[in-house]
């Protein structure tokens, strides 16, 4: 099985405080990694290291993704002054074959001409998640993807992730909500 992410002896220290120490893990294609831990345990930092945004204090991390990493973080990367449709154009999703299906599933099909600033927090999160649903990257990183989502949307997300794993994609996610996804667990509280 092809390794997509390989981390060796990762350590991260901020202001002399150790967030985690000497973590090693491999994530292969067709598998998921659930990064668990309490607030401030370094989950987001670890995910940002995988994307190459943050650098570890010690150790190394490599990503062998074929395409651009697909990432959803705490910030939705949506333009508040643009409509839903304009935001889809900005993400190059407006012509995607499955767009209509997911718009209906996420109940966003009647909001295409609504400005993002006028959507609720949950609707904005769903719009951001469309980037995940319609991507073709082999590495998907989700940082707290369920925040603000209703039960139906959470289930859509879980079934989507399970389908993607079956399609040999690699999913790495952190969440405080228990998700119905078969994944290896990396608990940062024990590091």
């Amino acid at each position: 099985m092809k390794t997509i992410v390989k981390a060796s002896n990762l350590s991260y220290k901020i202001n002399e405080k150790k967030l985690f120490h000497s973590i090693s893990f491999d994530v292969c294609a067709g598998s998921a990694l659930y990064v668990a831990g309490g607030n401030g345990s370094g989950k987001t930092t670890l995910l940002r290291m995988i994307m190459g945004i943050s650098k570890p204090t010690r150790g190394s991390i490599e990503s062998f993704a074929n395409k651009e990493i697909c990432f959803i973080g705490h910030k939705n990367a949506l333009k508040q002054y643009l409509t839903v449709e304009d935001n889809l154009i900005l993400s190059s999703l407006d012509t995607h074959l499955n767009l209509d299906k997911y718009l209906i599933d996420l109940d966003l099909n009647n909001s295409l001409d609504v400005t993002v600033a006028n959507l609720s927090f949950g609707q904005q999160k769903k719009l951001a998640l469309l980037r995940v649903f319609l991507n073709d990257s082999d590495l998907i990183i989700l940082d707290e993807p369920c925040v603000g989502l209703d039960n139906n949307s959470q289930q859509i997300l879980c079934s989507f992730i399970n389908e993607e794993i079956e399609k040999d994609k690699c999913i790495i996610f952190s969440s405080h909500i228990q998700l119905d996804i078969e994944a290896n667990i990396l608990n940062l509280d024990r590091q």
Binding site: G52, I53, K75, N76, D86
Partner: protein, 215 residues
């Protein structure tokens, strides 16, 4: 090409981002002759000084939140993990600002030059200088705003202001050349030389600064 279209779409929809600086420029250029004696013979000379200063201030205003919005909403994070060069994306962003703000202001400035000096040639001669200078100012002030991305734009302005002072000296020399009828082409080439270095180096430096901010 996609980046170009996306940045254009964003700025076009955020009309206050580009109409605001253009209106401020028009306001300064319209208000300036009202504050001094119309028959003053030095009006022509004073006009150019006001033109350069107005151009500099408006470019400073235009770049005030050039990266801040993308930083706050997480778009910069998304750009940083793209396979495309971040420097190229940021360079394109600055270029779009120049197309939507710098170019119209240059034409308006040239038009005012024609109106105040009543010399069509003078108005026309100043146009290429305005086009090149506005692009240089946009790059330099974007650099300042990237430096002070999370600290407010005042700090960035303070840092970059000394960098644009030599440029103002060159612009002063251009005006003297134009006024006494000398060939100012050499100054235009000098400004183009500065621009050719800046449009490569500044987006590259900004990309490193932004990656450091994201980290």
């Amino acid at each position: 090409m996609k980046i170009f279209y996306f940045e254009l779409l964003k700025l076009r929809k955020k009309s206050r981002g580009w109409i605001g600086p253009i209106l401020v420029f028009v306001l300064i250029m319209t208000a300036f002759p009202l504050t001094i004696e119309f028959l003053n013979e030095d009006l022509n000379q004073a006009f150019f000084s006001v033109l350069w200063i107005a151009l500099m201030l408006v470019m400073m205003l235009a770049t005030e939140d050039i990266f801040l919005e993308d930083y706050n909403d997480g778009s910069l994070e998304q750009l940083a993990i793209k396979n495309q060069s971040l420097a190229l994306i940021l360079g394109t962003k600055i270029f779009i600002y120049w197309i939507l703000i710098g170019v119209p202001i240059s034409f308006i400035g040239s038009f005012y030059g024609f109106g105040i000096t009543r010399s069509f040639d003078l108005g026309l001669n100043v146009l290429p200088i305005l086009l090149v200078t506005s692009y240089i100012f946009l790059n330099v002030f974007s650099f300042g705003n990237a430096l002070s991305l999370t600290k407010g734009s005042v700090l960035g302005t303070l840092i970059t202001l000394p960098l644009v002072l030599p440029l103002l000296v060159v612009l002063g020399k251009v005006v003297i050349s134009i006024n006494i009828g000398l060939n100012y082409f050499g100054f235009l080439v000098l400004l183009l030389g500065i621009l050719s270095i800046i449009i490569v180096v500044i987006p590259l430096i900004i990309s490193f600064i932004i990656r450091a901010h994201l980290e």
